[in-house]
Subunit: 309 residues, 2 copies
């Protein structure tokens, strides 16, 4: 195999109660990447379409992730990477994670899979470190593994993949406002009450239990964030209305996607997820706030091969 | 049915990461109770063997739980309760919970089961309120339902039962020291760091995932308490040694049972659990600290009927 074309999916991190530990993989929203073996050693980003991002490998998340991987696997050749961005940077649905995850997945395929998919997460995390300053895994893990992922621990890295109940759909609306990750981080408090933390880990447990038992109502009841959402949601205009109308229209639950500004809802069945999309859209229509909206099944496989040569 | 004799089991609450939300039910450690219908209305505690506890119904946890239940189910008759305590008060393995759970379970049987077992938890919690000042459910829920239980939420009460992997065994050692629940509560801090809370809810998620997938190693990796154990364990002499020797001898993990002073370990297989028991015992033998030790499979049913008439 000399060339591979892949689809690298968008992801939703945090999922209300699971701040910094939970994420899920979307199915029909994502970037495409073409990666080619080259006689020249190292990593080159040769083209980026759809976004104004640096071509220098050391300054590009895909390049940094790929270089981290090649530090652990010596080759006599190198790789050229073309990136076709569909996920907007700063949307809160894992734009940088898609690039990082796609790069290491594609190169691993071209190398004949020396690494297990799970082992690729640590390399992709280096791209996240470049993008946000912290090597978080809650977007790259679901992008690579698919389904839902739980980061049980960062030290050592311990990732559990959880298959999605088959009728679960996500609706994601991205209001076209700028919300810097640094601002979304700065509203967080370093200390929280033990009482609120107990509520939160009860819900994390409930969400995991709901996923294993296909208990959609339990999933819905557990999609509650006692700690981060109250602080961050004020940065997203119309958040409460969008969330409430999603639930009123049948969503199991809703919350901030990643660090925002996108808002996600989970629903049982495609029809409900589409009704929820309509209802969420109306709120931003009335506010005359431009947005993008997506309805997606949960992607159970993560990054996919489109073609290879 | 006029009379019922039941076995009401001991329980382990918290389970390291799951402070205030997780518990499990033990199999061969517990109290016995005999409950009889009586022409006289109300609740009477007629005998208590094995413990010096109040006979007045309003001051006895079994009486208070039973009265809470009868507030929701009017009868023309009443109940006499005999209690045979085997679980020592203040041991940290749910002594008061066994009495409360047993009382409401037995009366529900004698009434022809007007309540679902899950609905009995709220009544038994009133006994816990008398015992410790807070109506917690993390011992009464596993005592009534068996297996592992997760209290996803207290308001509204939302309890999820999780079946135990079949090879899971608990070892519990009870050093004969007095550790007041109020002292165990007073060392807790009202505020914790967000960072430690994230570690904790990652582990709660991991433990739940491990239980559903029979992943014993994952269960072990998740039995870690970032928040409460470091503060409480100093109140239990020899705690670190007992915990370390348990893990060194094959236990998946170990921690404080409830608010202590009992220390529990979980192991895969009876033989390992018994080896762990020997190793834990040695620590207290060398400290010349008297103790009781138990090895038990996880009880998947909760309170059991021994006989009825």
């Amino acid at each position: 195999m000399k060339e591979i074309k892949i689809f690298s999916p968008a992801t939703i991190a945090n999922l209300s109660c699971g701040f910094d530990v939970l994420g899920l993989c979307l199915d029909n929203i994502g970037d495409e990447m073409i990666i080619r073996k080259s006689d020249e050693k190292g990593i080159r980003i040769t083209k980026i379409f759809g976004a104004d991002l640096p071509l220098e490998a050391e300054k590009n998340v895909a390049g940094v992730a790929a270089l981290a991987m090649l530090n652990h696997w010596q080759t006599d050749f190198g790789f050229d990477i073309e990136i076709y961005k569909n996920i907007k940077a700063g949307s809160g649905i894992g734009s940088s994670a898609a690039s990082s995850a796609g790069a290491v997945f594609g190169i691993n395929e071209l190398l004949g899979r020396p690494f297990e998919t799970k082992d690729l997460v640590q390399f992709a995390m280096q791209g996240e470190k470049l993008a946000s300053g912290s090597a978080h895994a809650d977007n790259v893990a679901p992008a690579l593994l698919g389904g839902f992922t739980l980061i049980r621990s960062y030290d050592p890295l311990d990732i559990i993949k959880i298959n999605s109940p088959s009728e679960l759909y996500a609706t994601v609306i991205h209001p076209q406002i700028e919300l810097k990750t640094s601002d979304a981080r700065s509203v967080l408090k370093q200390n929280i009450t033990l009482k609120s933390a107990i509520v939160q880990w009860g819900n994390v447990g409930g969400l995991i239990a709901g996923l294993y038992t296909n208990d959609y109502d339990l999933i819905g009841r557990s999609l509650h964030d006692e700690i981060v959402e109250p602080l961050r949601s004020v940065l997203i205009p119309g958040f409460d209305q969008v969330k409430n109308t999603a639930i009123h229209n049948g969503a199991l639950g809703a919350g901030i996607s990643g660090s925002g500004p996108s808002i996600f809802a989970l629903s049982r069945g495609k029809e409900t997820a589409e009704n929820v999309a309509l209802a969420m859209s109306k709120v931003f229509d009335e506010m005359k706030l431009p947005y993008e909206i997506h309805v997606s099944q949960i992607n159970s496989n993560g990054v996919k091969i489109i073609s290879h040569d």
